[in-house]
């Protein structure tokens, strides 16, 4: 079973994050498109989803809304960490469990993921 599923379309960011989190001992899966994002979550049932807000085809907020409305209550409650490229001030993502603004420090990412997985 996956610990973390990351949905991020920027390949270099995804690669760096996967390396960082894998080295911490977590199983990390990647999906690189808004399209098929919700299906990837349903298929892998990860313990944590890291979700980029700005994705091609479907935005992270749309995927998050669909996840929260899923008929499987366990899946609908999956913790979600949103990555955003907008200033913190303009953020309003009440359905997310945590929000991390780009660019971020690797230590912050690690600490946040550790807290959300424990």
């Amino acid at each position: 079973m996956l610990d973390i599923l990351m949905i991020e379309d920027e390949p270099n960011i995804a690669e760096a994050v996967r390396f960082i989190l894998t080295r911490e001992g977590w199983q990390v899966g990647l999906h690189s498109d808004g399209l098929g994002g919700i299906e990837a979550i349903r298929g892998t049932k990860p313990r944590l989803v890291i979700l980029d807000v700005m994705l091609p085809h479907r935005s992270g907020t749309e995927i998050l809304a669909e996840l929260r409305g899923d008929h499987d209550p366990g899946l609908a409650a999956t913790p979600v960490l949103m990555l955003t490229a907008r200033g913190q001030a303009s953020l309003h993502l009440p359905q997310a469990d945590a929000v991390l603004a780009k660019p971020f420090a690797n230590d912050d990412l690690r600490a946040m993921v550790r807290r959300m997985l424990n």
Binding site: N12, P56, P103, F104, N106
Partner: protein, 444 residues
């Protein structure tokens, strides 16, 4: 602004009550204008250097009574105003009540907007207006100008925040910086990194720093271009903002800062009214049960372009998210009401592949195309150009094209007819045959 209105709770309360038009408001108004009339009588008399007793006698009242009136302790009836006006050689209207209500309200409004440490004598606003009408007018004009400038500034900063070039470029910068920062940290933190990963990270750093420097240069060039442009927002942009805000009454619309924009907005409203009269909401709603605008037009016996424009305004079921673009014969966009997610650049810019422009070359032929934006979103579009000779056969031929835009559900089957973009500068499609200038984005 929040600070100063908290500072003057009495004023806002009074304005709120006046707005409701209750008894309280009537009493306040009466006392407000009574003060005015008496003061004006006194000012006029003093200006003529006449004694109270003389004027009182001429008006047929006692000097003591005039004194009470002048100090606003007695009301002045219409007949008495007439007699006093005659005695003071002015028109009764000049002394009459109610004329300056609006100006007093404007003075009070100006006072509300002052900084917290400035506290003008609000009770004496009527006095100020009567004694120094020129200064009062100057104060009102200054306050109004400050108000207009403040509104303009808010609009301007809104525009900056929504500017598609800036948003896209900043997103590029942030993405590249995020990757560079994470990757560089991994390399700097040390620890075990397999050689193939190390190599990949170095290559990624190289690619991202190149992308970063290109984007930064483009950003600087873009900001430089502001110097050479006349204004950041055009009347058309003001009208678009006004439409997006739900087209509030033209006189009260903060988005319509320029005369040109207000004129455009009025023309727009008139045309929408005419079109609603030609094709009423109810008739269109019934016809819209058929999802094909061409069949709708045939059934309604109305021109297709009218049906398209009305669909974009009324948005009946099935057309809830409809957008509309209209251009003239030169290709200049004269109306932009985009559907959600449709890639729209700054006014004056466009993607040459939009079917809207194809329609210009084939007037009176409806062109249906499924288009895909760089974001992957798809839109069903219907474009039609019409021709008009309003001055008769000797006059010019006017062409106008419009494109109705309907968003497709994400993941719908079918392949797009056309891959479109917003405008070349912010379009990531590398191998586009229609490209006319390089993109500021890393192209794919």
């Amino acid at each position: 602004m929040g600070g100063s209105s908290r500072k003057h709770p009495k004023i806002s309360l009074r304005l709120a009550k006046a707005g409701r038009g209750g008894l309280h408001c009537v009493m306040k108004q009466r006392s407000g204008s009574r003060i005015l009339t008496g003061t004006r009588i006194r000012e006029r008399r003093l200006a003529l250097s006449r004694r109270q007793a003389d004027v009182a006698r001429a008006a047929g009242i006692s000097a003591a009574y005039l004194n009470l009136i002048e100090h606003n302790r007695r009301p002045v009836g219409d007949h008495l105003v007439l007699r006093l006006a005659a005695a003071l050689e002015v028109s009764a209207a000049e002394l009459a009540e109610g004329r300056e209500e609006a100006q007093i309200a404007a003075l009070r409004e100006a006072a509300v907007r002052l900084p917290d440490d400035v506290a003008p004598e609000l009770d004496q606003a009527p006095e100020l207006l009567a004694r120094f009408p020129g200064w009062a007018a100057a104060l009102i004009a200054t306050a109004r100008r400050a108000d207009a400038l403040e509104r303009q500034l808010v609009t301007l900063s809104d525009r900056m925040r929504q500017d598609p070039y800036l948003l896209t470029t900043l997103h590029e910068v942030l993405s590249a910086v995020t990757s560079v920062r994470s990757t560089a940290s991994i390399l700097a933190e040390g620890g075990e990194i397999p050689p193939d990963w190390r190599q990949r990270f170095h290559a990624n750093l190289d690619a991202d720093s190149l992308r970063l420097s290109n984007t930064a240069q483009a950003l600087v060039a873009y900001l430089d271009s502001f110097d050479t442009q006349d204004a950041i927002f055009t009347p058309q942009e003001e009208v678009e903002a006004w439409l997006a805000a739900g087209a509030p009454p033209v006189e009260e619309a903060g988005d319509l800062a320029s005369d040109a924009a207000r004129a455009l907005a009025r023309v727009h409203l008139r045309r929408m009214e005419d079109e609603r009269a030609a094709l009423p909401d109810a008739a269109l709603a019934v016809a819209a049960e058929d999802s094909d605008p061409l069949r709708m037009a045939a059934r309604l016996r109305q021109p297709l372009d009218l049906v398209m424009r009305r669909l974009a305004v009324l948005k009946p079921a099935g057309f809830d998210s409809a957008g509309l673009l209209v251009c003239d014969g030169s290709g200049a966009l004269i109306l932009r009401r985009p559907a959600p997610g449709f890639p729209l650049p700054r006014p004056g810019d466009a993607c040459p592949l939009w079917p809207l422009f194809q329609a210009l070359a084939a007037p009176q032929t409806a062109i249906a195309r499924l288009v895909e934006a760089p974001s992957g979103r798809r839109f069903r579009t219907l474009s039609l150009a019409t021709r008009l000779q309003p001055m008769g056969t000797d006059g010019p031929v006017l062409t106008q094209a419009q494109m109705l835009i309907l968003p497709e559900e994400p993941g719908s089957p079918g392949s797009p007819d056309l891959l479109i973009g917003p405008a070349c500068r912010i379009c990531p499609r590398a191998n586009c045959v229609a490209r006319r200038e390089p993109s500021i984005l890393a192209t794919v």
